[in-house]
């Protein structure tokens, strides 16, 4: 038999996946806000001349930032596809198949897009094949 904690956690993978999608949208939204801040501060370096901008860009060439780039890709995909799901639901499309829509978008379309973006980053930017 499953433990109570395990069942409580698994609740959101079943009937309550809409709530999971809601949390994902909030969390990824905050992460993207952090990324936007980093992006604006980096672009701001341009006002200090090309040497300062190049130095700022150099930070993002490390393998650590390449891993963060992969995480950013996942965050953008989750946020965007969940946005598509919410739009469809608001238009009255897929209400009865809402759970399937969530998992299909998150792991089907989202997974495929993520792998298509992450594999080249790993191969060419981190492993430098």
């Amino acid at each position: 038999m499953k433990s109570l904690h395990l069942q409580s956690a698994r609740k959101y993978s079943g009937a309550y996946s809409g709530m999971l999608a809601w949390w994902i949208q909030r969390a990824t939204g905050l992460l993207l806000l952090g990324y936007l801040f980093l992006h604006v501060t980096t672009i701001h370096e341009l006002s200090r001349g090309s040497a300062a901008f190049d130095a700022a860009l150099l930070r993002f060439r490390s393998p650590f930032f390449k891993l963060l780039e992969i995480a950013l890709l996942g965050t953008v995909i989750l946020h965007a596809l969940n946005g598509v799901r919410i739009t469809l639901v608001d238009l009255g499309i897929g209400h009865s198949r809402e759970r399937r829509l969530f998992w299909a978008l998150a792991f089907g379309v989202g997974g495929a897009l993520f792998l298509a973006g992450a594999i080249p980053i790993v191969l060419f930017a981190i492993l430098k094949i």
């Binding site: 038999m1 499953k2 433990s3 109570l4 069942q7 409580s8 609740k11 079943g14 009937a15 309550y16 996946s17 809409g18 709530m19 999608a21 809601w22 919410i86 639901v89 608001d90 238009l91 009255g92 209400h95 009865s96 809402e98 759970r99």
Partner: protein, 252 residues
Amino acid sequence: MLNETKYRFRVARADRDGGARRTDQFEVALASRMTVLDALCAIQRRTDASLSFRCSCRVGMCGTCAMEINGAPRLACQTRVETLGTETVAVAPLRNLPVLKDLIVSLEPFFSAWKRIRPALHPVAPDSQQLAVVRPDSDFGRQARGKRDCLTCGACFSACGIRGMNGQYLGPAAINRALLRLLDPRDGAVEERLAALDDERGGVWRCHTQFNCVAACPKGIALTDSIGLLKRALLRPRRFYEKLAPPERAQV
């Protein structure tokens, strides 16, 4: 001799008006097919007579025994313990409602939201002697199918994350009821209901389509669908006023 399984019940307890909250544990031996309500009755009868909970019909018709079982709002009489798949079963009162004692909550916030949408029928023609007939294959008959079985148990209200954050939100059950009345060709209180539904703080626009209400509803009502339908209808509310015109009213 019945083949019984032992379960541990962790029951949330509270004194009068929700004071002195604690969790008590009880060991209960249950036969296959026994429900959470059977277990609570067994605890009350054999171990602790002071355990308080509500129940009435025991067949999922009245909605009185709604409570949180293993973290999800369910009807205790319709939840077979063995289907939960856990040896320990956590039972707590419904969320978003004030606790009166143990598992009993006050449904006052639920019914106060319910009243705001004017749930009763307000006839278009109160003095009409003609008997209104709503055919199942009529527009209203088709649209209302699957949406009129609400027990007013409060499970959706308790599961709703938005209601948890916003005390003015009407909640899924009241909105679903308002939709049924708005679709009903016999009903004329369109203006008042639309005003409540369109309210910025408490109306349909607060719904974030979390679908918790759909997951919690023991009757399987597509409550988020009702809310979505009203959101779209509120952009063009004319369809609700059309039924007030005499030629339309005749087409019941």
